[in-house]
């Protein structure tokens, strides 16, 4: 027992790898066995993170359950992990969505073993980002997560679609995965350089030390250039890398392609967790490491966030592909996260900032739930109809009433209906942002308006209108396995919507401590 508590984070982080190894020893044609074993094993990190949540003391300041081991001694990088309330929330989200995604992938028939192995590696990469307290280790996990995602999209993505690129017809999933990979790697180059530069200047990669040392370097020159300029460059290098991941407008163009082409479970994880990595990067690295630059450039960031909110909502409304619609809605919803962060960065030491940040963190969690749920529901429909075109569905409500109810429930959560989770976090963001960026907040409500429009468009296209007779006998009701996937998400949406205190309490104290507010 003591072993478990002392190495809890490492256990959470590396159980997925062990699970992947276990899977490798199962014969490749035992699809059913592989699925159930994968599901069973993926519940271990979830159980461990619930254990972590229960044992986490939210009243205690600082990172808890820290572990530190030598990793790369000559450049002073160590394996250093720990959690605070912000990362704890994200860890819970990740370990929750992984088993659900695996359960959602039970319909995968092609190379099930490899698929599951990749999924576990992906989980490890994401958890590593949330748990790292060392800049280099963070980067390791940050980049590593790309590899399994690339293959998931490239190999298990939708098979039919094609795209015309430079006059040549190619597979859309090939295009999307390539774009995803190159976009993200190129975006991380600046981050890589900045991390190296910080390592050379400060002689350490340990985050707790860097929080003290790096912001206080403010005078003189580095490499013959004024510190202010160097730091501004480094700041933007960090921001661009994270902005691509979030994605912040105008760096979002990889997202609709990747989300649309990915297999259902891949989209769930992509929208549910992967996007949060970028936002988490802002919270964990950009704000505390660059307080001055964050303040100086907060308006720019806030402007981009608002553009993302409005543009994303408009684009979502313009789609006829249901999955693309949901993908663009992510751009819009994640815009609120960035807006909250930008406002807080502008006025970090105010109560409003604390509220905005709380809203942002909660919005990350909430969007994780609702986006994963939405992508899952799109996937459920796609498996039955083999189309994602909203114009081809039509009036399915009488055929699949339970599915219809679930879709409406989830859409409402995504829309921000009071009583469900999305409302709480968006309200907090808007409440916190209003006194700081009043104009931006007002503009962002245009996005909210259009959220209503595209959500209703989606519901209407699928469920209402005249029944498309072709589907009679072909579209079957959502099955128990699928209900098992969606039910936990729905419970949480309702729970947070009705009684958010259990999670807000943890986030609130973490935000106040971490950013030293008051």
């Amino acid at each position: 027992m003591e072993f478990i508590t002392e190495h809890l984070l490492s256990l959470i982080l590396f159980t997925p790898v062990l699970s992947a190894v276990v899977l490798m020893f199962i014969a490749g044609d035992q699809d059913k066995l592989i699925r159930w074993v994968a599901l069973g094993l993926s519940l271990i990190p979830l159980a461990l993170s619930i254990f972590l949540w229960v044992n986490f003391n939210s009243d205690q300041a600082g990172f808890q359950f820290q572990e530190q081991y030598t990793w790369y001694s000559p450049i002073n990088a160590s394996y250093h992990v720990g959690v605070d309330g912000i990362s704890l929330t994200m860890v819970l989200l990740t370990t929750l969505l992984t088993p659900l995604s695996i359960l959602a992938s039970f319909t995968i028939k092609d190379r099930v073993k490899t698929y599951m192995v990749l999924f576990f590696l992906l989980e490890m990469g994401m958890l590593g980002v949330f748990l790292s307290l060392d800049l280099l280790i963070f980067f390791v996990f940050w980049e590593f997560g790309l590899v399994p995602m690339y293959f998931l999209i490239n190999q298990w993505g939708s098979e039919k679609d094609t795209r015309k690129i430079f006059g040549r017809e190619i597979n859309a999933r090939t295009y999307a995965s390539y774009k995803f990979m190159i976009y993200t790697i190129a975006g991380s180059l600046g981050l890589l350089l900045a991390i190296q530069m910080i390592g050379v200047v400060t002689g350490t990669f340990d985050l707790l030390e860097l929080y003290r040392v790096w912001p206080s370097i403010s005078e003189g020159t580095l490499f013959g250039v004024p510190v202010v300029t160097v730091k501004a460059f480094a700041f933007w290098a960090f921001v661009v890398a994270f902005a691509i991941k979030v994605p912040v407008w105008p760096f979002h163009t990889w997202l609709p392609d990747a989300h649309t082409e990915a297999p259902t479970a891949g989209s769930m994880i992509l929208a549910g967790v992967l996007l949060k990595l970028g936002a988490y990067g802002f919270l964990r690295f950009v704000l505390p490491l660059y307080p001055e630059e964050s303040h100086r450039y907060a308006l720019v960031l806030g402007f981009l966030a608002v553009m993302g909110i409005i543009w994303g909502a408009f684009s979502a409304y313009g789609q006829t592909d249901f999955k693309r619609l949901v993908a663009y809605s992510s751009v819009s919803h994640m815009g609120f996260v960035v807006l909250g962060i930008a406002a807080a960065a502008y006025a970090i030491n105010t109560q409003d900032a604390a509220i905005a940040l709380e809203g942002a963190v909660l919005q990350m969690f909430n969007h994780g739930l609702s986006a994963a749920a939405m992508f899952f529901l799109v996937g459920v429909l796609y498996e039955r109809t083999h189309t994602r075109n909203l114009n081809e569905y039509g009036g399915l409500f009488p055929l699949i009433p339970v599915y219809g109810g679930i879709l409406i429930f989830t859409s409402m959560a995504s829309l921000g209906l009071p009583g469900l989770n999305g409302f709480i976090s968006e309200f907090l963001v808007v409440r916190g942002t209003w006194p700081i960026f009043t104009l931006f907040t007002i503009l962002s409500t245009i996005g909210l308006l259009f959220t209503g429009a595209y959500i209703l468009k989606g519901i209407m296209g699928v469920l209402h209108g005249p029944l498309n007779k072709d589907w009679i006998g072909h579209v079957s009701e959502i099955n128990p396995r699928e209900i098992f996937v969606i039910a936990p998400l729905m419970v949480l949406m309702l729970w947070i919507g009705v009684w958010p205190a259990w999670i807000l309490n943890v986030i609130d104290k973490a935000v106040i401590w971490f950013y030293g507010i008051y």
Binding site: V140, W142, L189, L192, V200
Partner: protein, 490 residues
Amino acid sequence: MQFPVLSVIVFTPIIAAIIILLIPSDRKTETRVAALAAATFALGLSIWVYFSYDVQASGYQFVEKYAWLPQFGISYFVGVDGMSAPLVLLTGLVMFTGVLISWGIDDRPREFFAFLFILATGVFGVFVALDLFMLFFFYEIAVFPMYLLIAIWGWKVTREYAAMKLTLYLFIGSVIALVGALGMYYASGLGTFDMIALEGAGFSAAFQKIVFPFVFFGFAILGGIFPFHNWSPDGHVAAPTAVSMFHAGVLMKLGAFAALRVGIMLLPEGAKYHMSWIILLTLVNVVYGAFIAFVQTDFKYVIGFSSVSHMGLVLMGFATLTSDGLLGAGVQMFSHGIMTALFFAVVGMVYDQTHTREIPKLGGVRLVMPIVTIAFIVGGLVSMGMPGFSGFVAEFPIFMGLWDSYPWIAWVAVISIVITAAYIIRIIGKVFFGKIPEEFKGHLQDVRVLDKVALVLLSAILIIVGIYPTIMVPMVQSGVENVLRLLGGA
């Protein structure tokens, strides 16, 4: 007396070569078994050397010294430090896996293995030599069998041309280096080729500035430095698989290593003076090499040019003359050696089945060769410096070294990462996962078990070093400190 482990390692291959030549030429299986036994033995000893090297004590260990021609100050003097111990291990590994994947060579296997082993003796010798004369001696031994291996067993289209080109380039290089070395011998006034003695010879700054380019470029040609790199892709492509593995995996390290040991370590002032422009050449290597690799359509040429790019990183790490840069370069030599051996093994296996190396004509290899595919993916990830693999462990400190010395170069060199990612992903997507062409259907077979053993071994090492750098990094760091001592803590 201590067991002369290094000498045993160095001479095992050549003795094995002689024994192999004594086996009648029609007993091919016996030949192969003998070769494998010798390679296993050498690998075992090099693993032993690697793990029993005392990192805390650092310095030269397992030293052996016997007078050879005392009147000229030449001695048989060998030993390893933290820089060369990983390279000895690398050679052992490449030799072992090279034998495994050459199992199918049917054309005069006896001579093939004999030449390969003579080459191996030369390579081991250079890595452990602490006497300048010995270093040259082994260096030439390593270069000469290469010519025959390529010209006889190579790719029929270009083998004569490539073998000739390669050999001439390398001989010119070694002659230039020899001029420098003889200059050092006479200028030192010590009358010895002992490199440890020469380290303390205190050459005048003016002398060092003049001689350094000779020594450095003489050896760096074999390391593939721009603009003297273009023998290497031709050579790689023309060589048979095991020779390509040796060639890119180990031989190029020979050049880089000798440039470090003789050039930078013996002439530190010269190095400091010239490195500010040499680093520009290495930058061309890194970026231009990656671009050229990107536009190739021949699978093997892609890998050949990627070696030019990656060896550029090694030389770039040297050129920073910083602790981090040298550390990264040391690890990169090992990492690239394993990675490129893996690459060439894969290319050879694909070619053996498909008989083409044109990327547009290939496709769907994963359907029949799953292990080969995974091995290539691992190598590819190493190549693009993906964290979690050894390439990252090596490249990261090289870039830190750049920040410490010439920050703007880091900005330019980093482009190579994304170009590398682009061509690696393109190959993975097309060759391994693309649609299988009609003419291959039913004609491709999976590789032999021995091939799989070799691939798994090489891949595993790349992953282990990437996940747990402590297994290699402190050792290389101790070697770096040895270099920094001579550079006066620069």
